[in-house]
């Protein structure tokens, strides 16, 4: 569904992505792992056109996203959701208004329908009680869940999650991933999840992609990753189990 070919990107002469090739299989969850600062967030931002590459292409539904104008991108973006690493909630709106925002912008719904959808989404991420709070009144993990609810509201076909579980307690981490998995199955979504958590990745991923030194070092199912010979991956897995 999404195919990335030869993606390169430098910032101020420093090359972050050095020719990334990656395909996100349709209706599956792909985890993207790698060290901090290797460009995982940068990679995902390319897929929604927030960053333009220096070279390479990204195919989504038979078009190259990197060549689209802002106006054409708007159509694509209705189909691709993105969860920001820091949430990026609108701080002038309450949690409920944040979640209602994409609904109001893109669907012709009555106030009542919006309210019931917002409550359903907030309930799913366990934030119904915080509906009328402002983002500044939330903890880090609560912000993340509120942002998740807002991302889900648009019902996109593809969702890219930039560290949805980082900073949450273990119980919430599992329940959030379970939620993502349920939603994926219910709506036939294609998901990419950035995560540093090896155990969660092995449990919830259909595929895992390792980003290392600006390229995809290895792509495979969790079992294939466990068997991988690459020393970096073995190190990565081992460190997680210490």
């Amino acid at each position: 569904m999404i195919v990335i070919k030869g993606l390169r990107k430098s910032f101020n002469g420093f090359e972050v992505l050095k020719g990334v090739d990656l395909a996100l299989p349709e209706n599956h969850i792909t985890f993207i792992m790698g060290q901090s600062g290797t460009g995982k967030s940068v990679l995902l931002k390319h897929i929604v056109g927030l960053i333009k590459p220096d070279e390479g292409e990204i195919r989504f539904e038979n078009q190259d996203i990197t060549k689209l104008s802002e106006k054409e991108l708007q159509k694509v973006r209705k189909n691709i959701g993105f969860l920001f690493q820091e949430g990026a909630l609108f701080d002038s709106m309450t949690v409920g208004e944040n979640v209602a925002f994409p609904l109001k912008e893109h669907f012709k719904l009555s106030a009542k329908e919006i309210k019931s959808q917002v409550e359903e989404l907030l309930d799913a991420v366990g934030l119904l009680a915080s509906k009328d709070k402002f983002p500044s009144e939330l903890s880090g993990g609560m912000k993340k869940r509120a942002a998740l609810a807002r991302t889900l509201a648009l019902k996109p076909k593809v969702i890219l999650f930039d560290e949805p579980t980082t900073g949450l307690d273990p119980i919430l981490q599992v329940s959030i991933l379970q939620l993502i998995k349920d939603i994926k199955e219910k709506y036939q979504l294609t998901c990419a999840i950035i995560s540093h958590d090896v155990a969660l990745a092995l449990k919830f991923a259909d595929y895992i992609a390792f980003l290392h030194q600006g390229r995809i070092l290895k792509f495979g199912t969790p079992d294939e990753i466990k068997q991988a010979e690459e020393e970096f991956i073995q190190n990565f897995l081992r460190s997680a189990l210490l």
């Binding site: 931002k45 929604v48 927030l50 802002e70 991108l73 708007q74 159509k75 973006r77 209705k78 691709i80 959701g81 993105f82 920001f84 820091e86 990026a88 909630l89 609108f90 701080d91 002038s92 925002f101 994409p102 912008e105 893109h106 648009l154």
Partner: protein, 255 residues
């Protein structure tokens, strides 16, 4: 050599900024008429810019009118034509002080807030979040503010003219003891409709200009909280100086 390089660099930066601000202005101006229409936002920002600047505009205009009357009276007393005091004050206010002071008050009151708010949305990725949700950030954030200023700044200017003239009247009648009938008669003789309109028209340009500058500076913030602070200072300086320069150019060319 270094000075030349510095001047060259500054000149290029000014050109780049002016071009950027102008394009930003055109986009904001036009996007307002593309759906979804943001009338609620327009009204909210009209309230923010208008109602909340009202008291400051009121006080500024009142005291400017009074002090202008006082100073002009000193000048007129030397040639013994104090009866035209009201007219002189009204002309100064409607043609110059009203629009310029109002615009500068709005820069300080609303322009700086616009820059800081948009800038902090930029650094916390809220602007990117709008894009991701297929909402055009300029259409959502800037267009309603731009049109709010275009509509509200001239209204504030009209109010400033009125208050300033009232201040001048008080000084003229009670301090200088000019006959109130004479003062108002000379005022209505001297001030023509086109004098008032020239000030109001200028204020429309000022309103559009200040939102374009402050919005642009906020929209292009780089580098954290410090970046927002720097951008806000720049926005206020550029808007204020720009308004004065524009005032001279518009006045000599058109009014």
């Amino acid at each position: 050599m270094n000075i030349l390089r510095f001047l060259g660099k500054s000149f290029l930066k000014v050109l780049e900024d002016s071009g950027g601000i102008f394009l930003f202005f055109l986009k904001s101006l036009i996007y307002f008429f593309t759906p979804p229409f943001r009338l609620k936002h327009l009204i909210k920002h009209m309230e923010f810019i208008g109602v909340k600047s009202f008291l400051v505009v009121f006080l500024t205009a009142l005291f400017s009118g009074m002090v202008t009357a006082y100073q002009v009276n000193i000048a007129l007393a030397k040639v013994g034509s104090q009866s035209i005091l009201g007219g002189a004050v009204a002309l100064t206010l409607t043609r110059e002080l009203g629009p310029v002071l109002t615009a500068i008050v709005v820069v300080a009151r609303a322009g700086s807030a616009i820059c800081a708010e948009i800038g902090s949305m930029r650094i916390t990725e809220q602007i990117d979040a709008l894009k991701i949700m297929a909402v055009n950030p300029i259409q959502y954030l800037i267009s309603p503010r731009l049109w709010a200023a275009i509509l509200v700044v001239p209204l504030l200017t009209a109010i400033a003219d009125l208050i300033g003239i009232a201040g001048g009247y008080v000084v003229g009648v009670f301090l200088v003891k000019i006959d109130p009938g004479l003062l108002t008669a000379r005022m209505t003789d001297m001030v023509e409709f086109k004098d008032i309109m020239s000030g109001i028209l200028k204020s429309i340009f000022f309103g559009a200009f200040l939102v374009s500058v402050c919005g642009y500076k906020g929209y292009n913030v780089r580098g954290g909280a410090e970046g927002v602070g720097r951008a806000t200072t720049e926005a206020v300086v550029v808007s204020t100086v720009g308004i004065l320069v524009m005032d001279y150019i518009l006045t000599t060319l058109f009014f």
